[in-house]
Amino acid sequence: MSAYRHRPERSDVNTTTPPRPVIGTPHRPYRRGVENAILGGVCGGLAIRLGVRERTVRVLFSLTALVAGLGLLLYVVLWLCLPRADESEAIAQRLLGPRRQLRRVLVGLVAIIVLGLLLQALGAPSLGAFTLPIWLSLVGAVGVWRGASPDERRHLEELAKSTPLAGVPGKRSKRSFYLRVILGAILVFAGLRILRHFGGAWYVASPALVGTLILLAGVAVGLAPWWLTTLSDLSGERRERVRVEERANVAAHLHDSVLQTLTLIERAAGDAEAVTRLARNQERELRAWLFDPAHASSPEQARTYVAQLREMEAQVENDWGVKVELVTVGDLELNDNIAALVAAGREAAINAAQWSGAPTVSIYAEVEPVAVSLFVRDQGRGFDVDAVPADRRGIELSIRQRVEQHGGRVTIKSSPGKGTEVELFLPRTP
């Protein structure tokens, strides 16, 4: 197991430890978990090390924490001393490591002292109460900085840059930055003076309030740009995300439909009929997607006359290999009558596709205030309406019946060599 004992030099190399525990198989070395971490990855890492479930380890840790906080202490110590699985140094190592950031610490110290002196000069009450928390936060901040991994430091730096006053201003906004600082400082100073003058004296609460307001205004002037930047960053990010999602949608659609069809066409290259059908199908789908997004995105909601006709167009083209030219004017909600009209139209279209020999079937649908009409026309061989053979009589009858049952009327015009047109007409009942 020498491979495990070898410590990688670079922080991002170490994949010998599995990301999740392999139950029953212990894995060395003990590192803090990354993917299965909830807090610091101590329990997750131990679970991997021992080859048991994370939950078991967590429950045990929680129990020991009840014994005078022993588990808690143990957790913190382990967290400090164990390197994360994808890093080479533990937090403690970094904390005690080379003092590269000493200069920054000194600068921070000086700043704190200056601030303390300033507060004292203004006579802020009980300076001692102020300084302890400040010292604690300072130590904490330095600890966080020193303990951070390079990645985390980069994050912290970004964060620090966007904080007010301490942040590094961009070149262009340098002047407004100084203006802001000075204005803010004056306002804060004035506010503090007023507060100091009247502070504690309740009967003069209103000047104190004014002072507070001025103080807040000062703080607001200082913070506003930072806050605004954060806001605009957020909305910019949101916009970007929307754009990315849109792109992903388009890509997904092109992949699902267009690329698939192209693959199918390549495979069926020898079969002219299949290729035509595939291309036609894809064309219709792409057209609907490009020019009629409402229908394409929610087909189950499109329960309208035109939507039904589109479905019928697709079905007839697919099943019978003819081109259907559908033209519609107006639209209305689907009801029983309209459904019957469409069903009859479908039979007429299939009939035309099957018998006429014409490559194209024209369908025209119009919704008028008083009536709905549907015309199915082909320019094929046609027939003598009065001498229809029995086997086709049935189709005609079923078309006629469907429509007449719902109060409509059917006219069939045809003559040999001149094509056929079936007119379906349905009055609208309010």
């Binding site: 033209v327 024209s362 119009e366 026309r377 320019q379």
Partner: protein
């Protein structure tokens, strides 16, 4: 009339080649262009009878070519050719001055027929374009105030409606003439009149469609 002199504008070489081979021998092709600026320049220089104009091209497409010509050569008739038959494309290109609109999946003989028709000064309405016009000029949902309605431009006559309806049903001009018992010439004049209304009417839907097109 001899063979019409035709000019092709399309940014896809394959499409131009396809059209060339389909029209070979039936028309005289006097030039081709694959971009807007060159197209306008060459059309002005060669004054063909008919321009076959692709609607979708970079730098503004067919509409931009029509704008560049800007009525400087009224004797040149434009037939728009496109893969799309979305309303806004059709209406925009017609309102910019095209005399007709056909989709690229049109058969060779039909395209030839359309070219001859446009060359003769007639309008070419596909069934779908006829459908659009009926939709746009529908009696329902008129967005015009009564005072603003110019009956000469904003309303279709019953006869024009009949003609358009038959075209939308897939009738050829000849069939329309037979059906309505009028001469083919009368059908042509009705269609040309509708085309004029389509180009000049202030109907809300039409200007909407046309203005939407500017966004592309």
């Amino acid at each position: 009339m001899g063979q019409p002199r035709v000019f092709l504008v399309d940014d896809h070489e394959l499409i131009r080649a396809g059209i060339r081979s389909e029209l070979a021998g039936s028309v005289e092709i006097v030039g081709e262009a694959d971009e807007v600026a060159a197209a306008a320049e060459m059309i002005l220089e060669r004054t063909p009878d008919v321009v076959l104009l692709d609607v979708h091209m970079p730098d503004g497409g067919g509409v931009a070519v029509l704008r560049a010509l800007n009525g400087r050569c009224p004797e040149v008739r434009v037939l728009a050719l496109s893969v799309s038959d979305a309303a806004e494309d059709v209406i925009a290109v017609i309102r910019a001055g095209a005399r007709g609109y056909v989709t690229k999946n049109i058969s060779g003989p039909d395209l030839l027929d359309a070219i001859y028709r446009v060359a003769a000064g007639d309008a070419v309405f596909s069934p779908r374009l006829a459908g659009f016009v009926l939709d746009a000029f529908s009696l329902e949902g008129t967005h015009l105030e009564a005072a603003d309605v110019d009956p000469d431009l904003d309303l279709l006559t019953p006869r024009e409606r009949q003609v358009l309806r038959l075209i939308a049903r897939g009738y050829s001009y000849r069939d329309v003439a037979t059906e309505l018992a009028i001469s083919p010439k009368t059908v042509e004049s009705h269609v040309s009149s509708v085309l004029r209304k389509l180009q000049l009417s202030n109907r809300h839907q039409l200007s909407n469609w046309a203005s939407e097109r500017h966004l592309f």
